[in-house]
């Protein structure tokens, strides 16, 4: 009986298996990185209708986050300021500036400024800002050091796995309520562990890990 398959096919199954394994590895790694917000969202830095500079206002001038984001302690969303908030100063300061022309136009017309939204959870996620900032989770934990950003960009992945990192171990991130709006706050890992445990215990912090905690 003649050989149907030539000799080189003896190793073919092994080679095929090896290539499939390599491809599998590539696909799994690629998907877990490139298909998730770690890659798709982090670094998103859109242009805005007004080139508002957080590093000037929040860091150099030392404005509190809540001067503009007035509702963050009360509402589930953290509002962008009304034009009136801008005009409280800019009615007088830099009133000829071309950069502020859209603000003045909005002030005249009453039409809102269409800021480009950067951080946007899916619509089936019901994130509540007030619940977090009033319990010692800083702006910085989810948005990075916005006070050093000239143009705001998406700093953290804000994926579900990332949320759960903190919901499972809040003691690694929780801080004193007076430090929530201090975006230059630093603490050593060791001190954070001690303080975190203390605060979690004192306040009875039990972040939900069930689906209905955030999805309804």
């Amino acid at each position: 009986m003649p050989n149907i398959f030539p000799r080189w096919t003896n190793w073919l199954p092994l080679k095929v298996a090896l290539i499939i394994a390599i491809l599998g590895f590539l696909v799994v790694n690629g998907v877990t990185y490139y298909f998730t917000p770690k890659y798709t969202r982090v670094g998103y830095m859109p242009g805005q209708p007004v080139s508002f500079d957080h590093s000037l206002h929040a860091e150099q001038l030392g404005l509190d986050c809540r001067y503009c984001h007035t509702g963050v302690e009360k509402a589930s969303h953290s509002n962008v300021p009304t034009v009136q908030t801008c005009m409280a100063c800019h009615l007088h300061v830099q009133k000829q500036s071309a950069k502020l022309a859209p603000v003045r136009a909005a002030w005249e017309s009453g039409e809102p400024i269409r800021w480009v939204r950067i951080h946007q959870a899916p619509d089936y996620v019901y994130f509540n800002h007030a619940a977090h900032v009033n319990r010692g989770i800083s702006c910085q934990s989810c948005h990075g050091q916005v006070n050093h950003m000239t143009v705001v960009w998406h700093h953290e992945p804000q994926s579900m796995g990332w949320c759960l990192e903190c919901h499972r171990r809040p003691e690694n991130f929780i801080r004193d309520v007076n430090e929530v709006y201090n975006l230059n706050y630093t603490i050593s890992t060791e001190e954070q562990r001690i303080l975190g445990r203390k605060l979690v215990e004192e306040w009875g912090v039990q972040p939900p890990q069930n689906c209905a905690g955030c999805h309804r």
Partner: protein, 236 residues
């Protein structure tokens, strides 16, 4: 393949290259966390791709989001003129307006506790200190800019000390002169700020006798023998 060694080497090299890139990318977090290595921090302006967009964006009305329901893009209709927002104390006009009829009223219409003063201090430092300064001297950071320099009032002027509480409350609410109003500050917080402004004014006119005896001693040793009835801050 035996007859094409160059092809074989090239093929192996390509696979190894792709592997390395994906390996580094896949373990970027590990590299960053444990080895401090960062690979090309990306900045981009195009809206992020949503890989699995199932119900990520729904047509419901959302906060701070244009709505497709009305042509002007607003989800809410403007309320009819004269509409009273929920939670506004209509049955207590002084609490809301700082006036009795046409006259300013004075007195804080909510209970002044240490807690309220602390709240007032916090709200003052967020909203007012930017211009008026943390001590109320009219020297906040914004007041040093052209356009506001010389315009911002010191809260320690006799004129403002003499104002009824209701008038200060109204200034916070609706603004006055060059100052725009702060209607987003809640009614209670506005009164808390009024109470704190009064505390600032009082503190500036305080004499040594107003501080507890044990602190008097500390102050006296700090500034030497002094006239006990003079205000602690002598300027203005």
């Amino acid at each position: 393949m035996k007859d094409f060694p160059t092809l074989k080497i090239a093929f192996t090299a390509i696979i190894a290259g792709i592997l390395l890139v994906v390996f580094i990318a896949g373990f970027r977090d590990v590299a960053a966390d444990y080895f401090g290595l960062r690979f090309g921090e990306r900045r981009f302006t195009k809206p992020p791709i949503e890989v699995f967009p199932d119900m990520d964006r729904q047509l419901k009305v959302k906060t701070q989001h244009p709505s497709a329901i009305f042509t002007d893009g607003r989800a809410d209709r403007s309320p009819v003129a004269g509409t009273v927002p929920k939670g506004i104390p209509v049955d207590n006009p002084y609490l809301l307006t700082g006036r009795f009829g046409n006259r300013w009223g004075t007195g804080i219409p909510i209970e002044v506790t240490e807690q309220l003063l602390a709240r007032g201090q916090e709200r003052y430092n967020i909203n007012c200190a930017v211009c008026h300064g943390k001590a109320g001297l009219g020297n906040g950071v914004a007041a040093q800019y052209t356009g506001l320099a010389g315009v911002v009032a010191s809260l320690h002027q006799q004129r403002i000390i003499d104002q009824p509480d209701g008038q200060i409350y109204t200034t916070i609410y609706h603004g006055k002169g060059q100052m725009l109003g702060y209607p987003h500050i809640s009614v209670e917080d506005r009164w808390a700020i009024v109470a704190y402004v009064r505390a600032l004014q009082r503190a500036r006119m305080a004499t040594l006798r107003d501080v507890p005896p044990e602190i008097q001693q500390v102050l006296l040793t700090a500034r030497g023998p002094a006239e006990t009835d003079q205000p602690v801050n002598s300027n203005q």
